[in-house]
Symmetry: D3
Subunit: 131 residues, 6 copies
């Protein structure tokens, strides 16, 4: 298997192109970003991932900006550089200000710190939290 | 070193008690939860962690409920069972509904999935994201 | 300590060279890859790691291709870019097709998603799984 | 939000029951396991997760047993106790023998070890792996 | 595959018993702990893991207590509850005091926090660190 | 939000400059490294992180070199490339030799391996470790 190449719109199959078109229309962007062009090497994964993401990130009880901040919090915790770059852009587009970014990073940092403290001290769950 | 025991208010030093009092006053709760009682074995960590957490979780450009959702997103991604229990309770207190919890988990799940896809496909960052 | 440099065959000690020779013979390759040249800075780690890896990755009840797919699944979950690159190459050599790569990534993605859902929902283990 | 309860078949909505029925028919089991009963608190996540999992775990170029081994490799690396228990059972049902389990764990262990060595030694990717 | 059972000394094969004997003699303990009794289900993994661990944890340029503290730092970061329990005991035996434990946890917490900050802010490596 | 830029001393506010000055004085260095220049975009995070780090990394019952080794162990386990680079430099400055680095990496590797074995085999904690 040679190194996978991104699949540009022009070379995409009809199946892939239909997903690209839906991404572009839903997000109102002129082209899809690299993530989609790479996973398009497996059209089933492309389709399923887009359908799921579209459903999950649609406005619900949690607003779109908050959803992007949550996506960033997971991506930073997992150390996914690509995802941090793409979702920082998406969050900015959704209204994240530099001060919000600063607060977000501070929370992510603190949560990672206290997660480890709770684990390292082997803190038992309070009965009140188990009801 | 024997197994660490939680430090109840009655047995706490003045230094520890002062932190407990501030936590109880800030959160309007009758007692602190186990996390604080365990890390109180190291009063410097207790004080520093509380001061930092208090500052980071205070209302800012990101509202308190969203901050708790972000804390949960990190805690789930790190698999910290204690933190999931305690911050689920805190988020609920801050207004999280069952439907919001469902959306939150869905986002955490999707972000973890696409983080791995981006990493596994070795997707290069789009030039547009690097400006 | 200055930045560690890779140790090429020509500059290697007899101890290191013996490991390099065994890697080359076992894998039928003209040279060892960077991983070995860097950890060769600690000959004990080089020897022990190679011996262990050789033993673990030898054909057993699990076939060599499946073993490489499993190695990739761990490497992607850990976000180890070097390991993803080297084990993608190894898996390809062992017979991984592009379609298998696509299926592999899809499984890794789903497993990471449902791992977090199970953790976030704090699902208790079914009694049937504990027998 | 009180502690989430599992949703048994008898109390499930038609939407949830339809998913349960499909899981039971596809897997030929008398009841669904706890994972599904908990995420059923969010019917959209239940439906989407099952549809995705069913598609991803169906026989393809990678056989069902191998797919379960891969799922286990991710679950162990993420430290998801529930997932380890449920997918150990599923892998056993798909044909995993005790010796295969032993080899699987050995590979997971080695991969986690060499992942960290590659990262800690900051090994640069070999040009041969980038083609 | 039924749920794996620990293998006690009395029921162990000669191969497994030889490893148990070496662990007991090296550590001067009357019995091996559960970790060894479970991985003994795969005698090759038992032997290889013990040989490697014995070599790695032997006194070197880093002293035995520090080695145990490092083991704990990794185990807490990975959220391995068993490993935290067993290596807290081992570190205590090697001389860890409650105050050292407190400092250790504080460092682990801070490192996890700043790791995420560096990742989230996408901080580029200083040229001075690359020499 | 455009891509964050590092804040050099000359352009820093008085608040940020005071932190930079304290870092430079405490560490006896002519300039702060990139980590601080990036998080300086959020002066509250800069101040709080430095105060906490200064307190945690000060000489205590654990000596400064060991503290840096511990920081590295966490950073490697988390796969934070920036942190590995910066704390390798800091550890070297504190006295880490190439042989110590080799031993450190070997321990990190082994701990990651046995963490996963303990988790994958679902080893129950020995009663002796729970006292």
């Amino acid at each position: 298997m040679p190194r996978l190449q991104p699949i540009p719109y022009e070379q995409a199959s009809d199946e892939v192109r239909a997903v690209y078109d839906d991404i572009k229309a839903t997000r109102n962007v002129p082209d899809v970003n690299n993530f989609w062009k790479y996973i398009a090497n497996d059209p089933a994964t492309l389709r399923r991932t887009w359908q799921s993401l579209k459903e999950v990130m649609a406005p619900g009880e949690i607003d779109p900006l908050t959803k992007e901040l949550l996506y960033l919090a997971v991506s930073v915790t997992n150390g996914c550089d690509y995802c941090i770059a793409s979702h920082s852009a998406a969050a900015t587009k959704a209204g994240m200000t530099p001060r919000m970014f600063g607060e977000l990073m501070a929370i992510i940092g603190m949560a990672n710190e206290t997660n480890r403290l709770a684990t390292g001290y082997a803190v038992p769950v309070d009965p009140a939290f188990q009801k």
